[in-house]
């Protein structure tokens, strides 16, 4: 398959294994996120893709050409990639236009063609009026857009993004997320985006590689990752939800309402299967739980209530002792007892 192939790549720093036997196949034009907590090896993986780090074992290939193995190393300047850095990495001694045009100069693009492509790249990030400014005169968001324009200008095979939004404030992040998605749609470039922010990854990427301690934990679309996380750890990392222990079921299995209720009713020692219940799959009946029509009679007490604008977040304590997170459209009283229905749940692999 063409595209970017990471095959069994390992990176060893002394005793520490920063990336451990990682394999990914990235299709051409795909927007991929490497997601994980800090120190999980995602940035090291990105730097190996760029060619700033040598790989200890395994292979990297791009469209069938070998980029790197333990024997072989194509230097960064020959990989035809582009990168957006967290710190923007704009050269302070060059104007905005010169920064954007520098990769073209290195490719010996000159004259009117050079002017046209620089102008076009600046236009795409809406920075045309700033062409002659120096980078220090720009705001954070503008600098990030210059860095993006610098990537645009040469039609790279792969665009690498290293936590590009980490230094921006919250409002700017949302608008930059749109810029990245637009940019990807227009250019159809293969993009690899490193982040520790799951909502960023979920919002932008076609597929997400979740990493932990240097190893790949799950490689899936955002929807799959949300609905069918593989393990307890992934489930905690992605989205909101509660984990309960039930009897029956097996990892990778979906449980319906009755199976869940049955599993919860079993004695404590039999309940060994972790199951994820998302808050949107929980129904709350606030009125007179004692006389409820609810057949299974699962009840909980409201421990804490958080106002989130369009809804309330309820932190419940079930009669069986577990904590449960649910949503409700009106306010309830703390300490109030409610009837609870669990519509569906997803069985997880337990953590080691």
């Amino acid at each position: 398959m063409a595209g970017l192939a990471i095959h069994r790549v390992t990176k060893q720093f002394g005793d520490h294994r920063a990336v451990d036997d990682l394999s990914l196949e990235i299709a051409p034009g795909e927007f991929v996120a490497l997601l994980g907590p800090s120190g999980c090896g995602k940035t090291t993986m990105l730097r190996m893709l760029a060619g700033f780090e040598q790989i200890s074992s395994g292979t990297l290939t791009l469209n069938g050409t070998l980029l790197a193995s333990d024997q072989h190393h194509v230097p960064p300047e020959q990989r035809n990639m582009a990168m957006v850095f967290q710190s923007y990495a704009l050269w302070p001694h060059m104007s905005v236009a010169d920064n954007v045009g520098y990769p073209l100069k290195l490719r010996r693009v000159q004259g009117s063609e050079y002017q046209r492509r620089v102008a076009h790249a600046l236009e795409q990030v809406a920075l045309t009026p700033y062409a002659q400014r120096s980078p220090q005169e720009l705001s954070g968001g503008q600098r990030q857009r210059v860095a993006l324009a610098r990537c645009l200008v040469t039609d790279p095979d792969v665009v690498l993004l290293d936590e590009p939004l980490a230094n921006l404030d919250r409002n700017l992040r949302a608008s930059m997320e749109h810029s990245f998605v637009d940019f990807h749609r227009r250019t159809q470039a293969t993009m690899v985006y490193v982040t520790h922010d799951q909502s960023e990854a979920m919002a932008m990427a076609d597929r997400i590689a979740v990493m932990r301690d240097g190893a790949l934990v799950q490689w899936a679309t955002p929807e799959t990752l949300y609905r069918e996380p593989r393990s307890e750890w992934v489930a905690r990392f992605i989205g909101q939800g509660s984990q309960l222990q039930v009897a029956g079921g097996a990892p990778g299995q979906q449980l319906n309402e009755s199976a869940l209720m049955q599993g919860l009713a079993a004695p404590l020692t039999a309940r060994t299967q972790p199951v994820l219940v998302r808050p949107e799959h929980i129904r709350i009946e606030a009125h007179s739980p004692a006389h409820s029509t609810n057949p299974s009679n699962l009840t909980g007490r409201v421990e804490r209530l958080t106002f989130r604008g369009e809804r309330y977040e309820l932190h419940l304590r079930l009669s069986t002792g577990e904590a449960l997170l649910a949503y409700h459209h009106t306010a309830l009283n703390e300490g109030q007892h409610v009837a609870v229905r669990l519509l569906e749940g997803w069985c997880l692999e337990p953590d080691q």
Binding site: G51, P76, E77, M81, A82, M83, S87, T154
Partner: protein, 566 residues
Amino acid sequence: MTPSLNLGSQHRWLLSLITLLIVLLSLAPSVRLLIEALSDLGQGSQAPLWKVLNAARTWRALWHSLYTSGLGMLIALVLGSLFAFVITLTDIRGKAWLVFCFMLPMMIPPQVTALSWLQLFGPASPLLKSIGMAPPLGSPQPLYSAEGIALLLGIQSAPLVFLALRTSLLSLPRELIEAARISGARQTQVWGHIILPITRHGLIAGAAMAFISSLGNFGIPAMLGIPAGYYVLPTLIYQRMASFGTGVLAEMAALSLLIGVLALAGVALQQYWMNRSRFGLGGHSGRAHDFSLGRYRPLVTALLVGVLLVILVAPLAALVVSSLVPAMGVPLSVESITLNAYHEVIGRQGATWRAVRNSLWLAGGAALVLMLCSLPLAYRLQRLPPRLQQLTLSAIELPYALPGVVLAIACILLFVRPLPLINLALYGTLGLIFVAYLARFLVVCLKPVSASLAQLDPSLEEAAQLAGAGPWRRLITILLPLIAPSLFAGGLLVFLLAVNELTVSALLWSAGNETLGVLIFNLDEGGESVLASAVSVLVVIMVASLMLSLSLLAPRLPKGVVPWQG
């Protein structure tokens, strides 16, 4: 962050008073010099300034100064930038040792450098004689020339260029280089397009520093130039003072003013470029960029080691050989090798011990006093408004920025008459040298302390304040322990510089009050090259071990305090 509470109290006044006193003491010599140099301008052509400006020897010495310093600067630029670029940017091995060896010439006193090079060349060189390569007797010593002076000035000040450039290179964020690489630039293109333009200002500032330092250097032109009748401004002053004594003080003040103005112009230029070099770079800095040298690595390593062999190892070897022969001109062999010179200087020469004792007292005392002053001074300075802080720092830096000869003349002027009121005569005593050292080296001790203090999170002190600690208590129980390594490093640097100092003491010493620097100079002038070599070897060993102990301290210090550690 000024703790806004409770600062109108007595400790603030006390600190301000100390600061003011120190500033006045730093300024006093320069002001006194200025008054003397500009005195009697009304006398027309008889005024000292006019007399000096009309003398042909002034202009000749000025030209010599400019020529040797300029050529020295170029040599320093080539050597310093070669080492800075290779050591900071590439994956060459043994960086720590290369840096240490390259920095050593800066810390070796200039008169020792000059002496060791004199032992390396010329017809009487014991080293050349021992390997049978000495030129015939009567052939000239090639170092007794303008170019010889320039060469040694260049080697001595190359570490300054190295340091300035290395600082620029280390503060260059790695991302800027990586962004260029991934844009398609090869290593050489990255160097030319990105690194050189961004660090250009550091390079220029380093060159300016090398020029100023060469301009004020006394030991090298004195040892190499005076025998050849080649005078630069500092040696001209020395020679006139030696011949005519305090009678020509006014003229010497005028001459000093001339060098002082030149040196300060250089400092201003260097400050300007240093400020220009601050681009406000973002990103992760401070990591080496590791350009891979690939198959050129052995070649580049050989080049650097070769340069070090020539500029450091060969002259020091010559020095050691010279200290082991019974007399100048005798080749070193198994039969002739002798430790007589060491016996002589350690055992019999009363002057040696006296000089060592004097230098140790002066350097140790100056280091101790300056360490005591530095913490309160740095603490008060940090709380001044930025403009005032800048001015104060400039005043404190003045005695160090001025060439040593200028400071010496200024101190003579200031203390040639007994002090009024207390009727204390400092002239002709060790006290005069001590005061001069205090003025000269204050900034050396203050800089690391200020740097440390600026790095401290102000909330540390604020937390102590909220816990109820008063100002003095905070200073002693919170700040002092955190600053201590820097304070100690500052003191050690002062000691290192002061113990080998020649320029100031050359003009201020008197019989019985020699310093170590003066001793070597006098021994060599008196034809006792072997004894001078023996003392010099001991001095080099002391310098190297002091430098090593500073290196050991380095991990506990803020960046840049130990000059030869990144």
